[in-house]
Symmetry: C2
Subunit: 249 residues, 2 copies
């Protein structure tokens, strides 16, 4: 079907069911092959990439809406979403719908609420919705090369800043790494988030000081070098650090 017509056909139905002016955009980060990725849809219309966002039903709570939206748009369920910012510039989505007239539901001004989550992409089978050609994990390093719609680049940037700030006082990695990992793999995750190379010695000292790791009596075999030790998170201490922050007053 013509992708422009798809918007027109849906507009009246959307007006009935959804609140005007309000949307939600989930920024789902995945860590995979030592790279940080973000979940994006390539829209049929204009072939631009977007976050898997959507509208809020008149009869549902905002928190319920974002869970439903993520399921409908990308097939993702059972993921913990946290709100991180609201994007309320008056012209933020105007341009995207410039070829439509003002009666189109999708064209009105939307203030969008950003949610983020961190996950292991291997857990999910992605299913793109009817408005999208494809649904994919895109490396953060490749974001500059793709055509992102509206202010979605800014939204992803703010989400990334939020997790960057978070790892200064909260542990990270539990839903992102396999159960057993090497310190080098954990360092790669931290490097992907802070966006720079970390000194190995400093990193090891700081991460061990947090007291959230368990050294396992096994090594990762098969590499060219000395087999590195495997670790896992001490779940009780990890959860405690998550609740309290890493440095209390």
């Amino acid at each position: 079907m013509d992708s422009r017509q798809q918007f027109l056909d849906k507009s009246d139905k959307l007006k009935e069911v959804f609140l005007p002016h309000l949307s939600a955009d989930p920024v789902i980060f995945g860590f995979d092959h030592n790279e940080l990725k973000v979940l994006l849809l390539k829209m049929n219309y204009r072939k631009q990439w977007v976050l898997p966002g959507g509208y809020i039903r008149k009869d549902e709570d905002l928190d319920e809406a974002v869970v439903r939206i993520l399921k409908e748009r990308a097939g993702i369920t059972h993921i913990y979403l946290e709100e991180f910012g609201v994007f309320g510039k008056k012209n933020r989505s105007e341009l995207y719908f410039e070829d439509f007239d003002e009666t189109l539901f999708q064209k009105q001004r939307f203030v969008t609420v950003g949610y983020y989550a961190l996950c292991n992409p291997a857990r999910f089978k992605l299913i793109a919705d009817e408005y999208s050609e494809t649904c994919e994990w895109i490396c953060l390093n490749n974001l500059l090369e793709i055509d992102l719609a509206m202010d979605h680049r800014e939204i992803i940037g703010k989400a990334l800043l939020t997790i960057r700030e978070k790892i200064s006082h909260k542990p990270i990695g539990y839903n992102l790494l396999p159960e057993k990992f090497t310190l080098s793999e954990l360092q790669k995750l931290y490097e992907a988030i802070v966006g720079k190379t970390l000194n190995r010695g400093n990193f090891y000292r700081k991460i061990m000081n947090l007291g959230i790791l368990k050294k396992l009596p096994e090594q990762r075999k098969g590499g060219a070098h000395k087999a590195p030790d495997l670790y896992s998170f001490d779940k009780r201490k990890y959860m405690k650090a998550l609740d309290n922050g890493l440095n209390n007053w």
Copy 2:
């Protein structure tokens, strides 16, 4: 004027000017006489206390709206507001307007965006708006004794949790304390925020370790005890810690 009539008279005008379904609520914390306080209005209608919140104009950005709202409702200007959460339960304000019919603008479902700020109350002359009897700094310790409308108690609670988490990795106090202060006064501020008494020795050691304080060559005179040293913030180091967080990777 009858406070119920006040709502009815404004409804049509509000519909013209403001976005439906969206509001903003500023939670302004003040620190004064060693106590943490929050800015509240006592509404003419029902005599309940509320945050100084309001609606978003169709032609303004969300960030502009909250600044205007705070000025209109409480006379407060020149204050740095930070978004901390969105409150989107579908029935959150239903009860407050139960004596009105569905056509009232103010009665519709509103998703509200919470902003917080920290300030020194001495800086401001409060001016209550036409909907309110009074505009006051209310001690957090007295919040349980007053009648707070809608979910405003929950919103204040979330704002407080946000600054509690923030002080684990960001410095605090710059806009809250006078230019010169004793370590004991700074400790009182931290205690007011975390909501518990802190060990004096631990607090002094941790706060000095942050490297954001300058010891001044003067003492606070006039107490019964030995005159305590005065400190001020080292603005450059304070701002750097604010930018980077207190513990980087």
